[in-house]
C-alpha cells in the first residue's frame, strides 16, 4: 500500500521539530554550526546528514487575496520526494536503491559502494554522499518505523500537522479538499506540487508532495523535474550511431590500407 507525505506549507510554523525528530530517530550528525543570514534557515539544504530541512522565505507580498499584511513568511519542510520515477533509483548500478513495499525509495546502506551516480540523478538535489563514510544517504520515509506500524518521526513530531502521513490515495483526497478550502478563503495562489503524474509527468508524481503558495523556485524546488532515464532515449540512440561510426572508421581505415596493398 503506497504511503507518503503530504506537506501543507500553509500550516507550517517553522518550528523545525521535524528536522530534530528526524535527526534524533536516525542518529544523524549535525552539519556544523554556521550562521547563514538566510532568514531562520541555518541548515541550508537536504544532504546526506539532513533529511528534513525547513526553508524560510520572507517576501513583501501577502499570501491571501486580502492583503491585510503586505508581508508574508513562507516556510516549507523539505524532504526526499520518493518519486514514482526516481532518478536515483534508476541510476543506481549496484541495486542498493530499491522501491519498498510502501512505495518509498530506500538506500540499502550495506550494499551502496558510494559511486555517487544517484547524486547526479536526482533532479531535486536531495541525495548526497557522506564524505565521512562514503555512502549515499537520504530520507528513508522511516522504513523501520513503518515496518513497525508507526508513522515517520517527522510526521509524529509536527505539532500543526503540516506534515501528514498516510496512504497516498487518502492524502491526495485531503490535499484536493484543502486546496478548495484555501481557494475559498482567498488564498488563490495555493496549489499542489507533484501530487500526481498529470501535474508532474517528469517524475510521474511524488510520494511526498506539497502544497505551495508561490512558484517552486521560491522554495528552491525545480519547476519541472524529470527522472533522467525518461528522456535518455535519444542519448542512447546517439551512442548507437557513434558506435557504428567507430566501427565504420575502423574497418575503413584497415580496408583502405589493406586494399591498397593487395
Amino acid at each position: 500500500m503506497p504511503t507518503g507525505f503530504f506537506t501543507d506549507t500553509t500550516l507550517c510554523i517553522g518550528c523545525k521539530a521535524c528536522e530534530v525528530a528526524c535527526k534524533q530517530w536516525n542518529q544523524l550528525p549535525s552539519d556544523g554550526y554556521n550562521f547563514t543570514g538566510m532568514s531562520y534557515d541555518n541548515t541550508v539544504q537536504l544532504d546526506a546528514s539532513t533529511w528534513r530541512h525547513v526553508a524560510f522565505v520572507e517576501r513583501p507580498a501577502p499570501v491571501s487575496e486580502q492583503p491585510v499584511n503586505s508581508f508574508s513568511w513562507l516556510m516549507l519542510s523539505d524532504v526526499c520526494k520518493h518519486c514514482n520515477r526516481a532518478g536515483c533509483l534508476e541510476n543506481c548500478p549496484t541495486g542498493a536503491i530499491i522501491r519498498t513495499e510502501f512505495d518509498s525509495v530506500f538506500v540499502q546502506p550495506d550494499i551502496c559502494n558510494g559511486c555517487g551516480y544517484c547524486v547526479v540523478g536526482c533532479p531535486f538535489g536531495v541525495i548526497d554522499r557522506n564524505p565521512t563514510d562514503g555512502l549515499a544517504w537520504k530520507c528513508t520515509l522511516c522504513y523501520d518505523r513503518q515496518k513497525a506500524h508507526m508513522e515517520p518521526a517527522c510526521a509524529k513530531a509536527c505539532p500543526t500537522d503540516s506534515i501528514q502521513f498516510g496512504e497516498i490515495a487518502d492524502l491526495r483526497t485531503k490535499a484536493a479538499a484543502r486546496i478548495e478550502q484555501l481557494h475559498g478563503q482567498g488564498v488563490s495562489a495555493a496549489y499542489l506540487y507533484g501530487a500526481d503524474e498529470a501535474s508532474q509527468p517528469g517524475t510521474e508524481g511524488l510520494n511526498a508532495f506539497f502544497l505551495l503558495v508561490d512558484r517552486p523556485e521560491t522554495y528552491n524546488l525545480p519547476p519541472n523535474p524529470v527522472a533522467p532515464a525518461k528522456r535518455a532515449g535519444p542519448s542512447w540512440a546517439s551512442m548507437a550511431v557513434t558506435s557504428l561510426g567507430l566501427l565504420a572508421a575502423a574497418f575503413g581505415a584497415v580496408a583502405s590500407v589493406r586494399g591498397g596493398r593487395r
Binding site: 500550516l11 541555518n42 520572507e58 508581508f71
Partner: protein, 850 residues
C-alpha cells in the same frame, strides 16, 4: 506563541481551521504572524495604551456586554469620593506618598468600606494579595452604571484620552489597523461568540507588567469573555512547569496554593496570621482549613491545636527576597550561600555583570543542572574573566555542582499553562551521578534532620519535627492531594479539608489530583474517546475544572448566554448546577440566592458570584486593593524609553523598583542621545530560555548557532550594518556583539512623522556550550515591576554600531564611576529593603529596625 509554544500552538491552528481569526500583536513579524490573519506591529512597551484604546472604543461605541458586566463585574460598584484618577493628577492616582515612594490605597476603596489594617501600607510585595482583597465587599452599587463615581464611569473617564489618534502616537499602530482589531474583537464577542487573549512575557516583563494583564482583563470583562468557552485569557508561561512553580511555589512570598507567606511584625502568631488574612466573604473564607491542613502535612502529629499547628516553625518574611533584591543584597555581602537549581541567571536574568559580581561575594554556591552552565562557572567563564578584569584565583566562592536528572529520567508532573497537571513517567535511569531534584532535596532533608537530631534548641524543632517520608514523586503527589489523618485515606478535594487537624494537604488547589487513590494526573484517555471538554485527560486544578469562573457562562438566572456557547447551567429540576465541566460555583447554590447581611463563610457567596475568590464575588474592573501601582492600568513608559510619555506627565510607573548603584547605571528616561534605539528581547523556537537545555545539544545548536540581532533594512542602511556581518550593541551596563540579520520583519514605526526603530535580540547565548555567543541580557538593568518584582527586559534603550566588540581590558562603554544615577533624569523610585538572610555583619543597609 508559535515560536515559544509550538506544541500548544497546534490548537490555535485547529481553531483557525474552524474559522477563528488570529490577530498577532508584536513588535516583530514572527512565525506566529506568518500564520495569523492579522499582524499588528507595535512599539515595545506601549501595550497598555493599545489595550486602553480598545477599552475606550468599546465604551465609546457602547458595545460592551451589558448584562454580563452588570451581573458579574464590579462595574456598578461605587468608589469613595476621595478617589482621584490619573486624569486629575497627570498620571498619578490619589494617595501617592512621595516620601515613601508608594501609594496608600485608602482612597481607592469602595465607598463605605474600611480598608482594614493589612491594606494600609505594605513594606513587602506580597504576590497573591489575599490580605488585600479579603476585606473588599462593595456595599453601594448603581446597576444603571450612571453614578459618576461608579467603576464604570471612572473607567470611562480614565481611558477617555486613549483615542485612536493617541494609540497611533503612542504605539505606532495606524488608526485603521487599530480600529480593525478593536472591531474584530467586539464583533466576535457577546452572547454568541467569544474571543480569547493569549500572552506571554512580552506583556509581563515590564516595570508596569502586571497592569498589562489587568488591561486585558478589563477588555475581557467588558466583552463578557471570562469564564466562557473560547474566551478568557491564556497566560503562556515560560517553560513546561512554571505554572507549577507558582502553585507549589518556588516563590518566596507564597505558601502552596497561593496562601500568604507570614510576615514578620504583622503575622506574629497564628491568630494574627488568620486575622490578617481573614476574608469577609467569598471562597477565601475557607482559608483556615487550607493553612491548617498544610501545616498538618508538614509537621504531622507534632502539629496540634495547642501549639497552633506548629505555625511558629514557619519562617517569616522580613523584606523583599525576590531575585534582583537578593542579588543586590548578595553584592553587599549580605548573603552567605545560595542554591541555584535549574536556572541560569547570569544568562537569563538581568545585568549579568552585576549578578556575577554579587556571586563573587558568596561563601558557597550550589548549582544543580544538566550541564556546567554559565552560572556554575561564573568564576572562570565570564566576560570579566575574558577581559582580564577578574581572575578565577581571586574568587573565594566555593562552588558545588550537582548533575541533575532530565525529565525523562524521573517521574513527576508538569503543570502547564492551562493548570493541567500531567504525569510523566520515568523512561530511563539517570546516567552517572545525575539525580532528580526530589532525590537531592529528600536526601538533604534527611541529612539536616540527622544533624539536628540531638539539638535542644527550640528553633531546631522546625527541622526535627518536619515530616520527611515522601520519598518518591508518587508519595509527594499523595501528600499534595491530602488525606484524612486518621487513616491516610486520600481526600477527594479541597471541599473535604478541615481546620481541626483531621486532614492534611500539601496544596489545597491540587487536592483531588489523587482522588479515590487513583493518580488522576496520569490519565490519558484519548480525545477521540471523550467529549470536547476531555476531562479525562490528566487533571486540572482546581477539582479538574477546565474553565475557571465558568458560572459566568450563564446569565443571572443560570441560563446559558446562548445555545451555541452553553457550558454550565442551573438545572432547576435537580436543584443543581450541571454542564460540560465541573461548575465553578457551589453545586446546589441557586442563581437566585443572595446572602444575608450577617452571613459567614461560604454562605456569603451569592448565586451570581462567579468570581468568588474576591470578597465581593465580582470580577474587578477597578481593583480597589491588591496592586501597588494603581487600581486601573495606566500607560507608563519603560524605565528607558525613546520618547516622553505622550499621555501623562508622569513618565514611568511611580511604584516601580529601582536599584541605583554603580553596577546598575540607568540611561536617561527618554531619548538618551547615547542610546537612541529601542530594543526588545525574545526567544526563538530552536533554543530554550538561557540555553542550558539547547546550546549543548547538537541538533538544536545547529539550527540557530550564533547570537544575532534583527534589524530593519532602514537601520542597516543608516548604520552600515550588513546581513551576515557583525554588530556591537551597548548600554551603560555592558557591550555585546552579535551577527546581523537584516529583515523586514521588524519594521520601523511611524510616530508623529518620524521613524522609530526597534532592534530585536534573542537572549539564548552564553559563554559555554556547543554554540557560544554574548548574552543579550547583560545589557539590561535591574528594574522591577512593583507588584511581582519582575524584570523589565522587553523594552529598553541601547546603541548599535557595525563591527565586533573589543576584547581587551578597560571600562565597559558607558559605565561611569562615581555617584550612581547622576545622569538619570528622573527622581529615584522606591528602593525595597531586602529581607534579612540571617547574616549579621558590621554593615547594615540602614539603621532601621525590622
Amino acid at each position: 506563541m508559535a515560536e515559544c509554544h509550538p506544541v500548544g500552538f497546534q490548537w490555535v491552528m485547529e481553531a483557525k481551521r474552524r474559522g477563528a481569526k488570529i490577530i498577532h500583536v508584536d513588535p516583530r513579524f514572527t512565525r506566529t504572524s506568518a500564520v495569523a490573519d492579522l499582524h499588528v506591529p507595535i512599539r515595545a512597551g506601549s501595550d497598555i495604551a493599545f489595550l486602553g484604546g480598545i477599552v475606550r472604543h468599546i465604551l465609546e461605541t457602547g458595545r460592551y456586554f451589558h448584562d454580563y458586566v452588570v451581573t458579574f463585574t464590579n462595574a456598578p460598584a461605587i468608589i469613595t469620593d476621595e478617589f482621584r484618577d490619573t486624569e486629575d493628577l497627570d498620571g498619578l492616582f490619589s494617595g501617592w506618598d512621595s516620601d515613601k515612594n508608594q501609594y496608600d490605597p485608602k482612597s481607592w476603596a469602595y465607598e463605605g468600606v474600611e480598608p482594614g489594617q493589612s491594606g494600609t501600607t505594605h513594606e513587602q510585595s506580597t504576590g497573591e494579595p489575599l490580605s488585600e482583597r479579603a476585606q473588599m465587599q462593595h456595599k453601594h452599587r448603581d446597576e444603571t452604571l450612571q453614578h459618576p463615581r461608579c467603576v464604570f464611569q471612572i473607567l470611562k473617564r480614565h481611558y477617555s484620552r486613549y483615542t485612536p489618534e493617541m494609540v497611533e502616537e503612542t504605539c505606532g499602530v495606524p488608526q485603521d489597523l487599530f480600529l480593525q482589531v478593536a472591531e474584530t474583537l467586539i464583533q466576535n464577542s457577546g452572547r454568541e461568540r467569544t474571543s480569547a487573549f493569549c500572552y506571554a512575557v512580552g506583556w509581563t516583563q515590564h516595570s508596569v507588567g502586571a497592569q498589562y494583564i489587568r488591561t486585558a482583563t478589563i477588555i475581557q470583562q467588558l466583552l463578557g469573555n471570562m469564564g466562557r468557552p473560547g474566551g478568557g485569557i491564556l497566560a503562556l508561561r515560560g517553560h513546561a512547569s512554571i505554572q507549577g512553580s507558582t502553585d507549589i511555589p518556588t516563590l518566596y512570598n507564597l505558601l502552596p496554593g497561593y496562601l500568604a507567606m507570614p510576615k514578620a511584625k504583622k503575622d506574629v502568631n497564628f491568630a494574627k496570621y488568620l486575622e490578617n488574612n481573614h476574608a469577609k466573604g467569598g471562597w477565601w473564607t475557607e482559608f483556615p482549613k487550607y493553612i491548617v491542613s498544610l501545616l498538618k502535612a508538614w509537621y504531622g502529629e507534632h502539629a496540634t491545636r495547642e501549639n497552633d499547628w506548629c505555625y511558629d516553625y514557619l519562617p517569616l518574611l522580613t523584606g523583599d527576597h525576590s531575585h534582583m533584591t537578593t542579588y543586590a543584597a548578595m553584592a553587599d555581602g549580605l548573603v552567605k550561600g545560595y542554591f541555584i537549581v535549574g536556572e541560569n541567571p547570569v544568562v537569563g536574568s538581568m545585568n549579568g555583570g552585576f549578578q556575577r559580581a554579587a556571586m563573587r561575594k558568596l561563601e558557597w554556591l550550589v548549582v544543580r543542572d544538566f550541564q556546567l552552565i554559565e552560572t556554575a562557572e561564573f568564576w572562570k567563564s565570564s566576560p570579566e574573566n575574558e577581559r582580564g578584569e577578574v581572575s578565577s584565583e581571586d574568587v573565594q566562592t566555593e562552588v558545588f555542582f550537582f548533575p541533575a536528572a532530565a525529565h525523562t529520567e524521573k517521574d513527576g508532573t508538569f503543570t502547564n499553562t492551562q493548570r493541567l497537571l500531567q504525569w510523566h513517567h520515568q523512561a530511563v535511569e539517570p546516567p552517572g551521578d545525575c539525580r532528580s531534584d526530589l532525590d537531592f532535596v529528600y536526601d538533604l532533608g534527611q541529612r539536616l534532620k540527622a544533624l539536628y537530631l540531638s539539638s535542644n534548641d527550640p528553633k531546631d524543632l522546625a527541622i526535627q519535627n518536619l515530616t520527611w517520608d515522601a520519598k518518591t514523586s508518587d508519595d509527594v503527589l499523595r501528600e499534595i492531594n491530602g488525606w484524612t489523618v486518621a487513616d491516610r485515606a486520600p481526600v477527594e478535594g479541597y471541599t473535604k479539608l478541615k481546620d481541626d487537624g483531621s486532614t492534611a494537604c500539601g496544596c489545597w488547589i491540587y487536592s483531588g489530583c489523587y482522588k479515590d487513590g487513583v493518580n488522576q494526573t496520569a490519565r490519558r484517555k484519548p480525545a477521540s474517546e471523550q467529549d470536547w471538554v476531555a476531562a479525562e485527560w490528566a487533571w486540572s486544578w482546581p477539582m479538574n475544572r477546565r474553565i475557571l469562573y465558568n458560572r459566568a457562562s450563564a446569565d443571572a438566572e443560570g441560563r446559558p448566554w446562548s445555545d451555541r456557547k452553553r457550558y454550565v447551567w442551573w438545572d432547576d429540576a435537580h436543584h443543581k448546577w450541571t454542564g460540560f465541566d465541573v461548575p465553578d460555583i457551589i453545586a446546589d447554590r441557586p442563581p437566585s440566592y443572595r446572602p444575608a447581611e450577617d452571613a459567614n463563610g461560604l454562605d456569603t457567596i451569592g448565586g451570581t458570584d462567579a468570581f468568588m475568590m474576591n470578597a465581593d464575588g465580582k470580577s474587578w474592573i477597578f481593583a480597589p486593593k491588591g496592586l501597588q501601582d494603581g487600581p486601573l492600568p495606566t500607560h507608563y513608559e519603560p524605565q528607558e524609553s525613546v520618547m516622553r510619555n505622550p499621555i501623562y506627565g508622569q513618565q514611568c510607573d511611580p511604584s516601580r523598583m529601582e536599584w541605583r548603584r554603580r553596577e546598575n547605571p540607568y540611561h536617561k528616561a527618554w531619548a538618551d542621545p547615547a542610546y537612541p534605539y529601542l530594543i526588545t528581547t525574545y526567544r526563538l523556537t530552536e533554543h530554550h530560555t538561557a540555553g542550558g537545555m539547547s546550546r549543548w545539544l547538537q541538533w538544536l545548536a545547529e539550527l540557530q548557532p550564533e547570537m544575532f540581532c534583527e534589524v530593519s533594512p532602514e537601520i542597516a542602511a543608516e548604520k552600515g550594518l550588513h546581513n551576515g556581518g557583525w554588530a556591537t550593541i551597548s548600554t551603560a551596563r555592558a557591550v555585546i556583539e552579535a551577527r546581523v540579520l537584516v529583515t523586514e520583519r521588524i519594521k520601523p514605526l511611524r510616530i508623529r512623522g518620524r521613524l522609530l526603530h526597534q532592534i530585536g535580540l534573542p537572549y539564548h547565548w552564553g559563554s559555554k556550550g556547543l554554540v557560544r555567543g554574548d548574552s543579550a541580557n547583560e545589557l539590561i538593568a535591574f528594574v522591577g515591576d512593583p507588584n511581582v518584582s519582575i524584570q523589565e527586559s522587553k523594552a529598553f534603550t541601547a546603541n548599535i554600531e557595525p563591527g565586533r566588540r573589543g576584547r581587551g581590558r578597560g571600562p565597559i562603554a558607558g559605565t561611569q564611576e562615581g555617584e550612581s544615577g547622576q545622569w538619570r533624569d528622573q527622581p529615584p523610585a522606591r528602593f525595597k529593603k531586602p529581607g534579612k538572610h540571617g547574616v549579621v555583619t558590621a554593615r547594615n543597609i540602614s539603621g532601621e529596625e525590622t
